[in-house]
């Protein structure tokens, strides 16, 4: 049973990986689920966060400052998508593609080159764990603490007056306007929040893998979406706590499934095909179920 030993070897690393991707999964969940506004900008804000953090670390700044600036950059990028969508009346998907395309150039400008290695610099992992960045399981534990703090903050925010108003805008724009909400500003803020989470995820990723690369965002949207759907299938989304937990649980499970697939001998390059097929199946499932119900 070589497969089991290979999987067990991969297990700690894939746990930590799942935790790293939980942030961007939250950043994907917010537009799709809270705002009901599909948005792809995370493919650009994820590397943006990595690029900003890497540049600041390489310039000798503290990783915490790097994370804060990465969050701010993500807010601006996410907000930009919203403003393009609202002012020019461009569908949100297209607005996001435009922004993530432009971010590719911006991210290279920020770093001055397509990638930045961080092996020689302090990260949150070297500062909080040990000099070599810690073992995968301690990295996982540290990330889970940060994830719980982020989820707690998100849960609180979405219960404040502004947070409930944001969810209301996502649920029903006409009603929200009639209740005095300037829906445009809430959409800018909501996509800004999503951008912050994705950029934070990218900044954590850059520290986790000790380098930032301008292409590191390719495929994160579909991973985030797969994680959200998978998580919702497991914990549900009937209330806000479950909706927030879903992308986190989903990201953790997703990378276990990935580890299993790799242990079974699949190539890493096959994973996107599998992820795409998984998302397609979950999107098609309700339709197929309805057809079966009608014919049966």
């Amino acid at each position: 049973m070589e497969f089991i030993s290979v999987y067990l070897n991969l297990f700690p690393v894939s746990l930590a990986q799942g935790a790293v991707y939980a942030f961007v999964a939250l950043g994907v969940m917010i537009p799709f689920r809270v705002l009901s506004l599909p948005d792809l900008t995370s493919e650009g804000t994820f590397p943006l966060g990595g690029a900003v953090l890497a540049t600041l670390l390489a310039a000798g700044y503290n990783p915490v400052l790097g994370l804060v600036v990465a969050i701010l950059a993500g807010v601006v990028a996410g907000g930009a998508t919203a403003i393009i969508h609202l002012l020019l009346k461009i569908p949100s998907l297209l607005a996001g593609i435009i922004v993530l395309t432009m971010l590719f150039s911006i991210n290279i400008r920020i770093m001055g080159k397509p990638n930045t290695a961080l092996f020689d610099f302090d990260t949150i992992f070297t500062q909080l764990l040990n000099a070599d960045g810690g073992a995968p399981l301690s990295q996982f534990a540290l990330l889970m603490v940060i994830i719980l703090l982020v989820c707690g903050a998100l849960f609180w925010f979405l219960h404040t007056e502004i947070g409930v108003a944001l969810r209301s805008v996502g649920a029903n724009q006409m009603m929200s306007r009639a209740q005095g909400l300037a829906t445009g500003w809430y959409i800018v803020g909501g996509l800004g929040l999503a951008g912050a989470l994705s950029a934070f995820g990218g900044a954590v990723m850059a520290q986790y893998q000790s380098y930032a690369d301008v292409t590191m965002g390719a495929g994160v949207l579909i991973i985030g979406l797969a994680a959200t759907i998978l998580g919702e299938a497991i914990v549900g989304n009937k209330n806000l706590a479950r909706q927030i937990a879903a992308p986190v649980v989903g990201a953790l499970i997703y990378f276990q499934v990935v580890a299993l697939a790799l242990a079974l001998g699949l190539r890493p390059s096959d994973l996107r095909l599998l992820t795409g097929i998984f998302v397609l199946c979950t999107l098609a499932a309700p339709l197929i179920a309805r057809r079966l119900a009608r014919s049966g």
């Binding site: 007056e161 409930v164 209301s168 929200s176 009639a178």
Partner: protein, 266 residues
């Protein structure tokens, strides 16, 4: 003129043309004029395409006007966006699904309405005092919604959702309440319940109200004013005394007279 004596709502020369200069050009509002006194409950009737919905949307801010003035409590609002008007104007939609946020709980929906016209901040949206107010307002409906504050709104029936929308529209008293055929999509029992709740709150708070309806019995029974709209104009504006004498058949005759007079004049 609208500032001197206490006029609650003044609509003067409001015009709106859709798709101007094209083959689909439609002059939906061709100069609407009327005034409402504080506490007036005006019923708006008219055939399909007469401009009733456009008028309501123009008052709410969903549709901008080409010319004319709309003032509420002496404040001109015709250039304000919908969310700004929400301080003065509230609305119950025809579609029971439109007035509430399905994915939010009953109390979250009510908390949104409770902050209408106020600045929203980072305090928790629902506090204990809010729950007491929500229960007090929901209980008279007799639907048991006061015991279901944490249920999501998508669990409610159309009549329950429309009742909730009505409470949301009147939780903070508006200066003008707009009712857009708000019982038309309900079954007769739910329609009666919502209509009773409407008259109760409107009478209790002397809310200035504009109600669009296709139901001639409602048009006769409810309200103290009646506006008949045809081809984008008010063709019959009945005051309290005149309205109290109207009958459903009289109203239909009145409509045909007005329309045929107009055709002769044209």
């Amino acid at each position: 003129m609208s500032n001197n004596h206490r006029t609650a709502v003044a609509v003067e020369g409001v015009q709106r043309t859709f798709h101007p200069g094209t083959v689909q050009e439609k002059r939906a509002l061709r100069g609407i004029d009327f005034e409402l006194e504080p506490g007036d409950f005006a019923v708006v009737i008219g055939s399909n395409g007469a401009g009733k919905s456009t008028l309501l949307n123009a008052l709410a801010g969903e549709i901008s006007v080409d010319s004319g003035h709309i003032s509420v409590d002496g404040i001109q609002i015709q250039s304000w966006p919908t969310h700004r008007r929400a301080r003065l104007v509230s609305r119950v939609f025809q579609d029971p699904m439109m007035g509430t946020a399905a994915a939010l709980t009953i109390e979250e929906n009510l908390s949104i309405a409770r902050r209408r016209g106020h600045r929203r901040n980072l305090r928790l949206s629902i506090r204990n005092d809010d729950r007491r107010v929500f229960r007090e307002r929901l209980a008279p409906l007799g639907l048991g919604l006061e015991n279901r504050l944490t249920d999501r709104v998508d669990l409610l029936s159309g009549g329950q959702r429309q009742s909730l929308t009505l409470i949301m529209a009147t939780l903070n008293q508006p200066r003008l309440l707009l009712l857009d055929e708000h019982t038309a999509a309900l079954d007769p029992r739910a329609a009666e319940l919502v209509m009773n709740a409407t008259t109760q709150t409107v009478e209790e708070h002397h809310t200035t109200t504009l109600m669009v309806t296709h139901n001639m019995n409602h048009a006769i029974t409810f309200g103290n004013r009646l506006l008949m709209i045809h081809e984008g104009r008010v063709i019959f504006n009945a005051g309290a005394e005149e309205k109290s004498k109207l009958t459903a058949s009289g109203l239909v005759d009145r409509f045909h007279d007005a329309v045929s007079d107009r055709m002769v004049l044209n």
